[in-house]
């Protein structure tokens, strides 16, 4: 008996519709996040991450409604990220039915926000999202920095130190994305994943770069991640979640089948 490594499909949602394309073969409405989340739940996804990329305030209300609908039909944990800047944002999402919120940029600009959020809502629902880029050159000791604005702005903050600080402030989980690997489909940044996972006592979700099922295995075995997040390999039906889980189990990874 052991805790299962989690597989988490991620949906990018804008104004209540999934963007970046989801092409299940037999789905009627490819853009409805609730329908897609329910499909993943039935396939055996361990959690759902919902990344809200809506810019406008009106759109935000739509997001809350989408989370409400999702929580009424999908009975696995739901994390909502994107644009979480205040305790009021968190309260709205949790009341709508989210189980966790993911804080990204707001933590970089105001680390105390993480402390305030964890004290008010509990560490178990506070995920800190870290966007990391390698800044060391070839042959140097590997080093990664926090980037904001979708990976365009460097902050000079060391990722491993930052992850430790976020946990000290109350983060209950780290969602770690390699901006170098994101969208490349060549696998997670395993050095980064392992460095952060070994540095913090809380679970780490590896994100960015999954293209094959071996990448998922590598993320938990070599990268020591507690969970793996992927979008396109599932959205485009390259692999189903049961296939991914069976593949991982066959290679000795504990999963929930």
């Amino acid at each position: 008996m052991a805790l299962a490594k989690r597989i988490i499909p991620c949906l990018d949602v804008e104004n209540g519709r999934v963007v970046k394309g989801v092409k299940f073969l037999d789905i009627r409405d490819a853009g409805d996040p609730v329908e897609i989340a329910r499909r993943y739940e039935q396939q055996g996804a361990d959690e759902i991450t919902f990344l809200d990329i809506t810019a406008s305030h009106e759109g935000r209300d739509t997001t809350v409604q989408t989370v409400e609908r999702m929580a009424a039909e999908v009975f696995i944990p739901l994390t909502v990220g994107g644009g979480i800047r205040t305790c009021e944002d968190i309260r709205r999402m949790l009341n709508a039915g989210a189980d966790k919120v993911s804080i990204n940029t707001a933590a970089v600009f105001n680390p105390e926000f993480v402390r305030e959020a964890a004290e008010r809502f509990g560490s178990q629902c506070i995920v800190v999202a870290i966007d990391a880029k390698q800044v060391s050159g070839p042959g140097e000791e590997p080093r990664w920095e926090i980037f904001t604005h979708g990976g365009r702005k460097a902050t000079g903050i060391d990722v491993v130190e930052w992850a430790r600080k976020m946990v000290d402030l109350g983060a209950g989980e780290i969602l770690l994305t390699s901006m170098d690997q994101d969208g490349m489909k060549s696998g997670f940044d395993l050095g980064l994943t392992r460095a952060v996972s070994e540095a913090v006592p809380v679970p780490v979700i590896a994100s960015g770069g999954v293209g094959t099922l071996d990448h998922l295995v590598d993320g938990v075995v070599a990268g020591k991640a507690d969970a793996v997040l992927a979008a396109s390999i599932f959205h485009f039906n390259e692999y189903t979640i049961p296939q991914a889980k069976q593949y991982m189990r066959d290679r000795g990874v504990e999963v929930r089948l």
Binding site: A2, L3, A71, F75, G97, E173, P203
Partner: protein
Amino acid sequence: MSSIAVIDYGMGNLHSVAKALEHVQPGVEVLVTADPQQVREADRVLLPGVGAIRDCMAEIRRLGVDAEVAEAIRSGKPFLGICVGFQALMSFSEENGGVECLNEYEGRVNFFGDNLKDQQGERLKVPHMGWNQVEQTVDHPLWQGIDNGSRFYFVHSYYVRVNNPALVAGTCEYGVPFDVALAQNNVFAVQFHPEKSQKAGLQLLQNFLNWDGKR
């Protein structure tokens, strides 16, 4: 149609558990409430809870939920505790420097520790977060239709040890063995979140709604 009071003492999100109950039994009347009258009149009572035990216990006492829980347990109607709603029934928790709990059942709530390791010596993360297997140690109406060893969703840093082994209904292991379900008379309490545990969890909630409170 039966009614269920989900006791609201201001901690955490009760939306999920209410939605899950409505999903497994459409038409069931779910009252999210701290009103003693409503709790007393409901056919079933559910004590949920997330967050830190000190704040939970403070609110439980401030709102008089302690008396409501004691009354519900003694009333004989089906009672379900979830997560902190299970821990709160014990005597004492070592969280937040030590907190006296409701002492409905003798037992302690302990920290998993900073140096938790599995049998292979690999470090284990705390909180214990994710899907773990539950060993059903007794036959019980609430386990009906759920395979022994099914995985449920957990998220907690403190675990329960019940003093009287005869009250334990389920166990789990994460670095240490611990108790994840307690059953006595009309009371069932679990450490995991049935409302987030997909099929197995919904089955348990369905069983609770069908249960007459007897073994």
